[in-house]
């Protein structure tokens, strides 16, 4: 009974804060509401007896991923969206209509009678901890996907570094081509070169 009350309370927090993620103009505020949504989702995992996933949710999502988001937002110095114009209004209307259709579909499905196999036997896995149970399955039955996951993380790390690095070498190259002997003229020489390099791309 108390688990249901906790579930309902955190579900309300989750829905409100994820709506604010979508609706708020400022990306930093959106990111902070996303932290709130992830933390309440971790509490919901706790009520569903997935304690290990609740902890991982807080550590990985609210800790690592959101720090990355906030770092990028502040690095890019984003201002609020200037959302106006007929085209944007039309697209926003289409988005809300699609969302309403999805909600109606889910409600129609969940209100029908549907069967779901046998209900769970009352918690035999409470004797050993949840973390131990996850670990035992992860390192025996899912050992090969676990190893593939490590390869995926390696590829993602290399890819992120390569993508971030490719444009960084350009100003140095123009400086060496333009005026190799006078380092004092670097800002004056490199700024027009960078502007000239950017112009045809923005016209295209």
């Amino acid at each position: 009974m108390i688990a249901q009350a906790v579930f309902a309370a955190f579900a309300g927090i989750l829905v409100v804060s994820s709506l604010l993620v979508v609706l708020h103009k400022n990306p930093v505020t959106s990111a902070l509401f996303l932290v709130s949504a992830f933390c309440s989702l971790a509490a919901i995992y706790l009520t569903l007896r997935a304690e290990f996933l609740g902890m991982v949710q807080v550590i990985v999502y609210a800790g690592a991923i959101m720090v990355l988001f906030l770092f990028v937002i502040m690095y890019l110095n984003l201002k609020t969206d200037l959302e106006s114009g007929a085209q944007i209004a039309v697209r926003r209307g289409i988005g809300w209509i699609a969302g309403g259709v999805l909600v109606a579909e889910a409600a129609a499905f969940l209100s029908r009678r549907w069967t779901l196999g046998p209900a769970a036997a009352p918690e035999p896995m409470a004797a050993a901890g949840n973390t131990q149970a996850v670990g035992q399955v992860l390192y025996t039955r899912y050992l090969f996907p676990f190893e593939i996951t490590s390869m995926l993380l390696l590829v993602a790390m290399v890819g992120a570094i390569v993508i971030s690095k490719s444009r960084g070498a350009e100003p140095k190259a123009t400086f060496e081509r333009g005026r190799p002997a006078a380092p004092a003229a670097e800002p004056g020489a490199s700024a027009p070169a960078a502007a000239a390099g950017r112009d045809p791309e923005s016209n295209a």
Binding site: V15, V22, Y61, E83, G95, A98, L102, Y142, S164
Partner: protein, 100 residues
Amino acid sequence: MIPISWSLLLSAVLFTIGVVGVLVRRNAIVIFMSVELMLNAGNLAFVAFARHLNSIDGQVFVFFVMTVAAAEVAVGLAIIVNTFRLRESVFVDEINLLKG
């Protein structure tokens, strides 16, 4: 014990909010956040069914989904930063070079 229909309805609502965010917003970073919301809706459905069927496998799949989400965020934010350096914008309706 929590009825599974509550969890599934919450998961559906969360996924819908993510879809609306992707369709409505034009800031690429907020679109990424909405994609994260959709991934979390899938995770919630996995955990709900793992609880209902009393099986641990659903929780293991959530673990894998979290790994994929972390990799996706790392690569995606690198692409966004690179695009911002190139175009001075993170609005997806201004990044239309492929449209010609």
